[in-house]
Subunit: 165 residues, 2 copies
DNA sequence: CAAGAAATTGATATAATATATCGTTCGGTA
DNA sequence: TACCGAACGATATATTATATCAATTTCTTG
């Protein structure tokens, strides 16, 4: 019998994973989203998304900054934060609060709030989408008479590649 | 029939809640823990725990700092962080990563990792302990071949008192 | 008790992360 | 072209956190 699960798991990138393809896919998605919503996908915003989606890790704002422009003509910190805010608004980028870092979301859409898995060793980020967890949060919220606005589930540990067998 | 639940919920403090009593209880618990483990519950560490457990909210490190000592004779930032590290090691204090803030844990012991509920308006913090959630995280970890080390579940929103009815 | 070791604290500096403000430029539109 | 609003650049500063090393306190042992 098949294993039933409430979660759709977005696996971590495989070792042969092609970051360039992944990046192109993200860019296309961003372009289409912006077109639909009448928003501007400027070169700066594009550059931030390219950097994040190529890295396939979470990066600090200043890590992103270092990779922007060339040695000369580097934008100020606020520019990165502005682009990150824009991309987060579109759910293309998420913030990893436990690290003050950011990463490109690899899921096309979020049917529900998701869970983030981050490897302490290589920094790679995976995502899962467990309705069981979100349902339980909703139930608990009822008990507590609490109205949830953002749900943040971050699991840090060792990914398959990095944990010693 | 009784409602069955997998979660033991530590409710938010009631409106008539006596912070002083709560604080005294926390201090006693800290004293007893330190005695057992041969650790030193110094005046500085005590002061940090008193401030946090009286507030019953999460506070930033520098908020705590402002309430320490008197106007003169205020310790340097590192002192607060050292005390916080000590208290977190004992699970008496937790860090709210989404806010870079700290709060005193009101639960006697954690049988399992817990969930934090924080009100955006008044900053009050509640805790729940849902084994359903932690079990599901464990199951997902298996699917992902991921070894979890820390699990961080933070729900931000509006508490019963603050949400407009 | 004295001397040495270890833990804690104080003092100073600085790193890392994030935001505020305001003038300029860019893109679209009347 | 002239205007308007969004985006960006430039500058300054706020907020959060850590590094380093000396001084002090506490504990342990002789």
């Amino acid at each position: 019998m098949a294993v039933t699960t409430t979660a759709q798991v977005a696996p971590f990138p495989k070792s042969g994973h092609d970051h360039a393809r992944c990046r192109d896919w993200m860019i296309k998605r961003a372009e289409s989203l912006c077109l639909d919503q009448g928003l501007r996908f400027t070169p700066q915003r594009r550059e931030v998304l390219e950097i994040l989606s190529t890295a396939h890790q979470c990066l600090g704002a200043y890590d992103i900054l270092e990779r922007m422009g060339h040695r000369d003509r580097r934008p100020p910190p606020a520019a990165v934060y502005r682009s990150l805010d824009f991309l987060m608004e579109l759910n293309l980028v998420h913030r990893m609060t436990s690290r003050n870092a950011f990463f490109a979301c690899t899921r096309a859409e979020h049917a529900a709030p998701i869970q983030f898995w981050i490897c302490r060793h290589c920094g790679v980020v995976g995502e899962s989408e467990s309705t069981l967890i979100t349902d339980e949060v909703a139930r608990l919220a009822g008990e507590l008479a609490f109205r949830p606005e953002t749900i943040n589930v971050e699991i840090e540990g060792a990914c398959q590649t990095c944990r010693t067998p």
